[in-house]
Symmetry: C2
Subunit: 217 residues, 2 copies
DNA sequence: AAATATTTTTAGGCTGACCTAAAAATTATA
DNA sequence: TATAATTTTTAGGTCAGCCTAAAAATATTT
């Protein structure tokens, strides 16, 4: 059993490791968790003792398969709750993250199964992020941010980065949500700003924005 | 701001004080919280410093009006979540308490307002307990357990005690839920068992059970 | 009103999750 | 390859929430 704090650390490690594919450095984790490196070292030892990560002194940490599964269960809960807040309670997608950060730690298998069913077994959350199934299986779609793509690209928005609430408000305003049609009309070499067609509306977006709109590769 | 632990202590104090009407002794609180008296004394000092209770050494604690309000907001959340679990997720009424004990600590005014609306502003929870409004106003109905009533009494079940999950399962089986018609047919003087009509079904119940079925006085 | 029993508080310690400052290991640079 | 810079760990301390054992206050008996 992990404490709330341990769950948050493990989730951060999982994300920083790109879904478990690379090792995570102490300082990066400290930055992500808004703590000091010394605190991270303390926690790393505890998580290591609980066999959810493996740890080689001075060379960073890796999630074990057990840890990966536990991280995915927390992520599952987070994304199901976000979906509930938007679909059932009428939250907008920029308001859900903070609350989901709390709800993801509620401990009840029955609750999360019932919630999943109530929501109609959604595959993605409001930001387009995939929801792991109850076995911890995650359908990973390889995605690119549209700032990496060229003029003429056409496709559908698959997801948006859900980190910043102000950004989400703006994306909402310009209609950039998962499922929406998108075409790249022009790209300015100087600042990498773009002219795009979102749902047949012509709009100019900065690189800062285009980095946060994802499509399936 | 109260911590999760402080919220739980305050709620227990509120309940043990009969909704704030009498003072609560250290040992009783220790028993309710499953801790030791020394730990209770520590916590009492903290809650007192936060002005949610008043405390006279050796003579127990009383909730202040601020404390009463904060306790009622936690109770409001608890009962709204229980209602959600039963009405929307299909939990049975004997399964909800544990989960609601966790959910009641989620901190988001917006969430609880939206949830209230989503549930259609319910007045009582699945066990018949009244749900405080968003101002902390509680509609107190004076209730009696039916073991206190005489042969011939007729009325409707208003609430049941929600402490024991096994009892709730049994009450469910015999159809004793809030809103159901009830009539007392007979009472055995020796062990205070009763013969009652619940929803027109004749049934015998022990005093242990009748103590937990409440009607409006 | 003393003596005894009970309740409550104080004293001192532990653990989890944090911190700062100093030491150790690694990496980069001259 | 020695020196400097950076990263990470260790050492030692704080605070919340718990504990046991002892002391103090209150309540009950005789
Ligand atoms: Mn989120
Ligand atoms: Mn999301
Ligand atoms: Mn309950
Ligand atoms: Mn209830």
């Amino acid at each position: 059993m992990l404490s709330l704090t341990e769950e948050n650390y493990l989730k951060a490690i999982y994300h920083l490791s790109d879904d478990g594919s690379k090792s995570v450095l102490t300082n990066d984790l400290a930055a992500a968790m808004n703590t000091k490196a010394a605190s991270v070292t303390d926690m790393i030892k505890k998580l290591s003792a609980k066999t959810v990560i493996s740890y080689e002194k001075y060379y960073g940490v890796n999630v074990t398969s057990k840890g990966k599964n536990e991280a995915l269960m927390v992520i599952r809960k987070h994304r199901l709750w976000e979906t509930f807040l938007v679909e059932k309670l009428g939250f907008s997608w920029d308001e859900v993250h903070e609350v989901a950060e709390q709800l993801e730690h509620i401990n009840s298998t029955r609750l999360i199964e019932k919630l999943d069913e109530f929501l109609g077994f959604p595959k993605v959350d409001p930001h387009g992020d995939p929801i792991p199934d109850n076995k911890g299986k995650l359908k990973i779609m390889p995605m690119v941010a549209i700032d990496q793509l060229n003029i003429g690209y056409q496709g559908k928005i698959a997801a948006v980065k859900d980190s910043d609430s102000q950004l989400l408000k703006y994306l909402d305003k310009i209609g950039a949500k998962p499922g929406t049609k998108l075409k790249i009309l022009n790209k300015e070499a100087y600042d990498e700003s773009m002219e795009v067609l979102i749902n047949d509306h012509r709009i100019f977006i900065s690189k800062e924005v285009s980095q946060n709109i994802l499509v399936v590769e």
